[in-house]
Structure formats: structure tokens, C-alpha cells
Amino acid sequence: MKQLVIISGKGGTGKTTITAAIASMTENAIIADCDVDAPNLHLILEPEIIDTSDFYGMEIAQIDSEKCTGCNICIENCNFDAIHTDHSINSCKCEGCGVCEYVCPENAIKMINNPSGSVFNSMTRYGPMVHAELMIGEEASGKLVTAVKEHAASLANENEAELIICDGPPGTGCPVIAAITGADLALIVTEPSLSGIHDLERIIQVTDHFRIPAIVCINKYNINEGNTKQIESSCEENGIMVAGKLPYDTVPNKAMIGKKTIIEYEDNEFSEKLRNIWRKVRSKLCEDQ
């Protein structure tokens, strides 16, 4: 079983649109939406939820005001400024480390479970899908991404699936690192803007750092063909294959509004280009077998 993760360094480059299109070109794959902060894949694939499980992030501290003598030892030892002067807990700042519980001389502090989201096992018209919802302002989105991937892996085993397709989160931080861990290939979607190039360089550093093979797709390539050339030559220098280029087109928005993948929306030049990209990604995925 192989794992493909679609990432981009930044948001809005077309990760989800491409993930959905790939999902509609595969058979026997598990689809996982690892963008738990702002999941969008469900808007196109319209999963029917079969099973929901609660997600608990880090525990958080709770102070028993009857036992608390106001000695402030907890406040002095909290490295996250998470305890207010009235000895209540700022749940956004509490990292759940347990230091306050450890130092409290009155045993007035307990670490309690903190429900911070849900993981859904669902079914779509293209097969099983795992997705999640993080409660607003909750931390541990990296942990939730890991939970989504674990659910996807066990579904893949049950279904004897050949592939897990992960729609990744934007950025280069904790959730992205969680999403690419264990992946066989990262498909990096970029666009030929200065910020696109900048973010591409950063995300390639991340995939290099974690030794995940990468392949690039340039979206909206004709918005700035000079920048597109620059991306192509820097990929060549770094030994990264460009799987293909997609033009700026109204097709992705129209398909999105119609809740369809680009492949389903219409057979046209744009969808043909995507089919070619998928062929290249698939052969790259199979290379190391």
C-alpha cells in the first residue's frame, strides 16, 4: 500500500481540487483530508458519515478552588502563562504538560481530558474517506492529522486498499509534518507567483528534511510564464520532476460550485491535462516497488 500526500507550502494553490480529481481517477483508494484546520474536500466528495469518534488533544489542567490556597507555585512554574492570577486556567494557552499538577503542594490540580475535535469514517462515491473537524482554537492539529492518518491506515488494511490519498494542510509547521510522515510521495502543488516560488522552496526544504520524495505540479502556469520557467529550472536543478502544468481556467471554480471533481465535470483539455499528471504521479509512486 502506498501513501500519497498533496501539499503546497501555502494555501489556495489548488491542493483540494487536485486531490478530489485524483480521487475520482483511482480505484481502491482511501481518501484522507488532513487539512483539519480548514477541511474542504468534503464539499466536493460529499461523504456520508458512517462512524464518528471523539478526538482528545492534550489534557488540560483544572484547579479545584476549594483545595487551592493561592500559593501561586503553579503560576510561577507554568512556562505558558496559562494560569490567571485568580487561579483559573486559560484553556487556549494550557499545553497540558502537567507541571502545575506536579508542583501543587495541595493536590488541587488535576489534568482532565479535553475533547477537541472529531474524526469521521465516511463513504463517498469514490470510496472510503476519513476526515476530521478541529474545534475552533484548539491546539494539537498535528495530533489530529495523525489520528486521521491512523484511521485511514486501518481502513486501508480492512479494504486491502492500494493507496491512501491525503489532502494536506498548508504551511510548513506541525500539521504538515504530521501529514507527510510516512508518505511515499509528496505531490507539491505550486503556482508561478513570487510567493508561490518562495513557499515552494520552503516546503521542499521540509520534504528534504524528512526525506520524503517529491514531485511538483504547477497550477495556473500561464499567469506568469517567466516564473513558471524559473520553477521548472529550479526543480530540474534539485532533481525534482515536474508532473505537469495546469493553465488558469474557470473550470475548477465551475466544477467546485457544481460539487463535482474536475474529471466528473466535463471531459475537456483541462481534465486531460490532469489525467496526464496523475499518470506521472502514479508511475513515480510505483517506482520504488
Binding site: 494555501g11 506536579y102 510548513t172 509534518i177 474557470t250 460550485i257
Partner: protein, 285 residues
């Protein structure tokens, strides 16, 4: 006044709005809190000087004192320390720097060791062009964005207008960015994805009780669902930036469009004064 630009997701045009707004104002500060991907300076192209390093303390094991009692690894809730027979391992990128392992070690075998997780930079001293830019940059492979953002925000001058470019999403780094701002502009695009993420972003600013309004970017490229949502939910649409290939091209080249399309400067100035009006009204009520 501190105005944050947020959006729930990436790629909607936060940085575009932040840069063009800051360039339209006199003497503004631009604070780039998207520390994973700071992009504002791609459009300003200024010389930046390093101001500070952001560091955190991670454990360093003094192996000759360690008895492999496991107390530290049992205590660590972040799996940053593992004890196996006669061997102890630390995983610095998982460490949240709570200091608990040092407290629980009965042998004094753990020392704190400082590592750099990011840097804060600002436009260099002799660069008097408006606006003054501050950015945070998280080191590759590091997971903790919030400490870099908190350090960056210490540079906000309460006597100036600060335009704060927020990271995408609705998780902790966004909350750290939005904490104590006066007003939040939410940038969205008129598509189902844009609407979905806008709803999350509105929930965040409502929870934090921050006055807010919407800018629709690439207006005309999608459907009317965002406008319908704003009408039903009584959320003000502050501005629409049309879907325009000229703007997209300037963006791709890293040119702020107010520089080439002068009439937009006026629009951003008007936007700012209407936000000021609204803010002072909200403060009164």
C-alpha cells in the same frame, strides 16, 4: 489601532490586503505573523535586519548521572523523551519546553539547553520608507509557531496603526495572532471553499469578540453564496476586489497593485477610516 487580516484558509488574499492597506496609510507598521510562510516582504522587497532570535529550552541528558529510571519519559506528555534499557533518547522537535523533565529527575541528570526556533526581523534602520515591516520566521522542522508570533507581537507600537497579517487556519497560531487586536478584516473568495472557511473564521472572531468585516477578493469569479451569508448573518462587506487579470499578474510578480493602480490607494484609505469609525462606535456601545 491594531487591525488583523485573517481568513480561515490560505490563498484568499490576506497578504495582498495587508500589504496594499499598509502601503496606502501613513506611518503604518506591518506585522507578518504568518511565521511559517512570511510573504509580505516579497511585495515590499526591503532590506531586513535580524532583531532577535526566538529560542526555547530543551532537555539535555547528562548520561553519566542518568540511572534510566524513566521518571522523565513517563512525565513527558509530548513523547519528547524515550527511555530504553541503558539508553535515553530525546526528540527536540516534539519538546514543548515545559521544564517538567528537569523537575522530576531525581539525579539532576537533565540540563536545559537553549535552541533557536525562529527569528524576528525588521526593515533596516536607514530604510525610512513607509510602512515599517516586522516578520517572524519559524525554522524549518520546528513545530511551535505561537512562541515566535508572541515574540514578534512585542514589537507592536501602540502609538501607530498596525496591520497584522495572520496565518491561515483557526488553530492556536491564529488565536495568538488575534489576541488583543482591535479589529479583524476577514478576506474570502466567492466560492464554496471560501464560504466554508469564512464561516469558521467568523466563528473565531465572534468567540474572541473582535469587531470584524469582510473583504471579498476575486469578486465575480464564483457565486453569490458569500454575499448571501454576509447578509443573513449581518456581517459587513467592507470591500470587493474584482477578479482582474491585471491584479493577478501584478501579484505574481510581487508588485502591490496600489502602486500601479493608484485609485486603489484612495479606496484603502477610505476602508481604513470607515473601520476607524466603526471601531469607535463599537467601543461606545
Amino acid at each position: 489601532m491594531k487591525i488583523a487580516i485573517a481568513s480561515g484558509k490560505g490563498g484568499t488574499g490576506k497578504t495582498t490586503v495587508a500589504v496594499n492597506l499598509a502601503l496606502s496609510l501613513q506611518d503604518a507598521q506591518l506585522i507578518d505573523c504568518d511565521v511559517e510562510e512570511p510573504n509580505c516582504n516579497l511585495f515590499l522587497n526591503r532590506e531586513l535586519d535580524q532583531l532577535t532570535e526566538v529560542s526555547s529550552m530543551i532537555p539535555e541528558i547528562v548520561e553519566e548521572n542518568c540511572t534510566y529510571c524513566k521518571k522523565c519519559s513517563d512525565f513527558c506528555r509530548f513523547n519528547a523523551i524515550a527511555t530504553i534499557p541503558n539508553k535515553i533518547l530525546t526528540f527536540p522537535t516534539l519538546c514543548h519546553s515545559c521544564g517538567g523533565c528537569i523537575m522530576v529527575c531525581p539525579e539532576g541528570a537533565i540540563q536545559e539547553h537553549e535552541i533557536v526556533t525562529g527569528i524576528i526581523r525588521k526593515t533596516s534602520g536607514d530604510d525610512k520608507k513607509s510602512p515599517e515591516l516586522y516578520e517572524g520566521l519559524l525554522d524549518i522542522g520546528q513545530t511551535m509557531a505561537s512562541p515566535v508570533i508572541s515574540e514578534l507581537k512585542k514589537n507592536i507600537d501602540p502609538g501607530k496603526t498596525s496591520i497584522i497579517d495572520a496565518p491561515p487556519g483557526t488553530a492556536c497560531p491564529v488565536l495568538t495572532t488575534l489576541e488583543d487586536v482591535d479589529y479583524c478584516i476577514l478576506v474570502t473568495e466567492p466560492t464554496p471553499f471560501g464560504l466554508h472557511d469564512l464561516k469558521l473564521a467568523v466563528e473565531v472572531v465572534r468567540t474572541l469578540e473582535i469587531p470584524h468585516g469582510i473583504i471579498i477578493n476575486r469578486s465575480g469569479s464564483g457565486d453569490n453564496s458569500v454575499e448571501e451569508f454576509c447578509m443573513n448573518e449581518n456581517v459587513e462587506i467592507l470591500m470587493k476586489i474584482p477578479h482582474d487579470t491585471k491584479i493577478a499578474q501584478l501579484y505574481s510578480e510581487g508588485i502591490p497593485f496600489v502602486q500601479e493602480m493608484g485609485h486603489w490607494k484612495e479606496k484603502f484609505i477610505q476602508l481604513y477610516s470607515s473601520i476607524q469609525d466603526r471601531y469607535s462606535r463599537e467601543i461606545e456601545t
